[in-house]
Amino acid sequence: MTAALDSGPSTTRRRVSRFLSARPNWRLAGLLTGPALWLVVLYVGSLIALFLTSLYRLNDAGTGIVEKLGTSNYRDLLDTAVYRTIAVRTIGIAALVTVIDMIVALPIAFYIAKMATPKARTVLITAVLVPLWGSYLVKAFAWRALLGTPGGVFDKTFGASPGYGLPAVVIVLAYLWLPYMIVPIYAGLDRLPDSLLEASNDLGAGFWLTFRGVVVPMLLPAIVAGSVFTFSLSMGDYIAVELVGGPTQMIGSVVYDQFASNLPFAAAFATVPVVVMVIYLLGIRRTGALENL
């Protein structure tokens, strides 16, 4: 091959090829520069920009930003009761949504992975994934039509509905992120050999003992992986809460309300979910969940 290259007329392409074949480091640089730039500039860069902005502050007239580093926004965040309440509420909603999704996703994933026929399995997995193709906004608006009181679909059909408010936010977010929980758990169950369940059964363990002693420990990384999605997506939401939350505010709604008028403060509040997620990810590193993402 090399001989064939050498014998031909020397073109730019061949010279480059010859140059690279002798230098593996250059090859690696050529391969990685693009993606690494993408990662560093767009991804990490935007996070740094967010953090930097959060250290600036608004000028006194409220018309521009003073680009001097300081912690006044974070002090505002800590000193003002309403911001603490909103932060705690947001984390609470995210946790509740995650728990509900776990409880709903486990039996569904178990049925799909272990009980359904291969043909039904394909249909069911498709059914779980199809809603992800639909627009988030359309689904949130649909829930508006379902939950309204009076006059909503639930109210007209069952005579009862939670209406708009905090419960509605939890319901809608749990619905929206459910596939992100089912898929990793399904994948985890798929890797769990049937023989283990049979062995447990042969040794006299009932359903619950097998579930607690065999299934859950082996599934834990998959469940935690799913929770990373449901938790972080709920933390950042601001559209569902705007549409079905009634007067409820989450971190996302405050950021949305203030990014036009007070960008540095909005940036500071937007840093909170980032910090919470970093702590969460560090906490679960030991479970091995990150290998299941």
Partner: protein, 387 residues
């Protein structure tokens, strides 16, 4: 070939970067001397119903004629709140905006808009004098825009639910309201002025004269009232289609609204009505302003000329439900010949009674001192009210 493409691309990027860096806020601070040939494009930020091209309702269309007349293709971005408009204008991608008083002053102060040479707009002479050179559309004796139209924020209610028909804002501020959970309020810091307006008559001892010039004590009273109101609020609204849907469905039964929302709901046969409560109301007087970074200034001037012509003013005022800035439009509103009487378009005393949205500053807008609560505090307080 390829290297040429790359160098062209690089050159363009550098030019764009240079343009981005070179344009400082004040560069566009001189008004146009004469209207030249149109640039073929116009990027607008507008309130819903201000620049209709037939996509909302096929029979409501005044943008298409403008495009045919001038060759300026119009793209409209609907702004839901003044804060959103202010943020959109900061991007520099738009030529003009229909700004209300609670963002127009901020835009002038931030250098986002240029003065307007009103002598280039033929229709300007016909515009109601009480709308010209107001604090919300001028600065240092320079005019910063062309008035579009004005009106009050109304109280809307479901006629099948709310009984008796309300005539006072007290129904939305009553913490024991029978309509608890079905009340809505405008989701923006400027709504604090609505509470202040109500307190002007409900608690006269506070001594509020102008709801946009509040000292700390008056401001705290308004915020306290809104925190009480928060308990009976079903949801706050900022998106006009969402609140329209809520009124039609019935999940909202009463609250503050714009006439255009009532008109849209009525067109869908929803049992709603609007009233201007006895305490009077806040309102808006909107101004077409030109961006200091406008890339199509000629088209923007043509738009300001077009939108203030009697024919177009008649269409806008009739559709949106507001008083036209140009009273010559009144004779042309055929759908309701009494339109201008209903909205008191030529009644300057009535217009003075409406508290038009303005941007509160530390230096009181009513000129009564330097201890007024600035808008930045209004924004913070609004988050606190919603809780």
């Amino acid at each position: 070939m390829r290297s040429r493409q790359i160098s062209v691309a690089l050159g363009t990027t550098l030019a764009l970067l240079a343009a981005g860096c070179g344009s400082d806020a004040k560069s566009g601070a001189t008004a146009l001397k004469s209207i030249g040939k149109g640039e073929g494009s116009l990027q607008l930020i507008a309130w819903a119903g201000y620049a209709e091209n037939g996509s909302t309702d096929a029979s409501v269309d005044w943008v298409t004629k403008f495009q045919t007349d001038t060759g300026c293709k119009v793209d409209v971005k609907v702004g839901n709140t003044s804060d959103e408009m202010f943020q959109l204008m900061q991007s520099g991608a738009y030529d003009g905006v229909s700004a209300s008083g609670d963002s127009s002053v901020r835009m002038i102060d931030a250098g986002l808009v240029s003065p307007v040479n009103t002598s280039l707009i033929k229709n300007y002479a016909d515009i109601s004098p009480f709308l010209k050179d107001q604090p919300y559309n001028s600065s240092d004796g320079k005019s910063y825009g062309i008035p579009h139209g004005w009106g009050a924020n109304y109280l809307m209610y479901r006629t099948d639910v709310v009984n008796p028909p309300p005539d006072s804002w007290s129904v939305v501020f009553d913490k024991n309201s029978p309509y608890k959970g079905k009340i809505t309020a405008y989701d923006a810091p400027i709504y604090i002025a609505d509470a202040a307006n109500y307190l002007m008559s409900a608690q006269p001892d506070l001594g509020i004269v102008d709801p946009y010039s509040l000292n700390q004590k008056q401001f705290d009273a308004a915020v306290a009232l809104l925190k009480e109101q928060r308990k009976v609020i079903g949801e706050y609204w900022s998106n006009y289609t969402v609140t329209q849907g809520a009124f039609e469905q019935g999940s909202t039964a009463l609250g503050t609204t714009w006439q255009v929302i009532a008109n849209l709901a009525l067109a869908n046969r929803a049992p709603v009505a609007t009233v201007l409560p006895k305490e009077g109301s806040t309102g808006w007087s909107d101004t077409w302003m030109i961006s200091s970074k406008s890339k199509h200034p000629n088209c923007m001037y043509m738009w300001m000329e077009y939108i203030t012509s009697p024919e177009v003013q008649a269409q806008v005022a009739s559709y949106f439900g507001e008083a036209p800035a140009n009273p010559k439009a009144c004779a042309l509103i055929t759908a309701d010949p009494t339109h201008c009487d209903v909205f008191k378009a030529e009644d300057s005393a009535f217009a003075k009674g409406i508290k038009f949205w303005a941007t509160p500053r530390k230096k009181c807008l009513d000129g009564k001192g330097n201890d007024c609560v600035p808008f930045s505090e209004w924004i913070k307080a609004w988050t606190g009210i919603k809780g």
